[in-house]
Assembly symmetry: C2
Homo-oligomer: 125 residues x 2
């Protein structure tokens, strides 16, 4: 169920209950310490289910790391109006062990992969 | 449930079960007669639910029509590999009565609106 929205004055790309896909893309991601982790590159939607399975956070190659794409479950992205970005509750250190891949080394995004991502972030499938 | 995917060779922005948000945006929409209706501008996702509520189809102002944004339920978008676009089963004539709005005349996208859109396309909420 959607929450009931009373959204007379909000922009057309966002309401109390809904957000436009292209507004999500490009949004900066921080952790709870206010450290910038990256930005949302895009997010993956189940073709049949219409459910967002995960968002992909990326950061530029400036750190020289190959693995710079991090799938993050939608439920773990919390939008913070004050900083104008998403907050994901994960340390920079913990990100090293999180599921990730290089742009040129894509995993197979099948249902096992989705289950693995959700489970890393403590979300039952 | 996701279908089980066997997607060794597909592009990273799409698998058998998943599609990337930015691949959906910009995709052309046709009806079953092969007539071009417009293209997907973006789509609206429930912030809490992570569910795609509807996609927004738009077409350019060349027809001189003010109302050129059409919310369409995700379930009604059927991707056709052959034509490389979505097919929505609606006549151009029927589109005149479909929920729509001008860019500068946005409705309130609350849950009543979503219910109205789904119901026009025959989908129970």
């Amino acid at each position: 169920m959607l929450e009931r929205a009373s959204d007379g004055d909000v922009a057309h790309d966002e309401t109390a209950a809904l957000i436009a896909s292209d507004k999500v893309e490009g949004t900066t991601v921080y952790n709870k310490n206010g450290e910038k982790l990256g930005q949302i590159e895009n997010f993956m939607v189940g073709k049949r289910t219409g459910r967002v399975e995960y968002a992909v956070m990326s950061f530029g190659g400036i750190l020289g790391l190959g693995k710079n794409h991090y799938p993050i479950p939608w439920d773990r992205l919390e939008y913070n109006v004050g900083i104008g970005g998403y907050i994901v509750d994960i340390d920079k250190e913990a990100l090293k062990d999180a599921p990730s891949y290089a742009q040129d080394d894509q995993p197979q995004f099948n249902s096992d992969y989705v289950v693995g991502v959700r489970s890393y972030y403590g979300i039952p499938y």
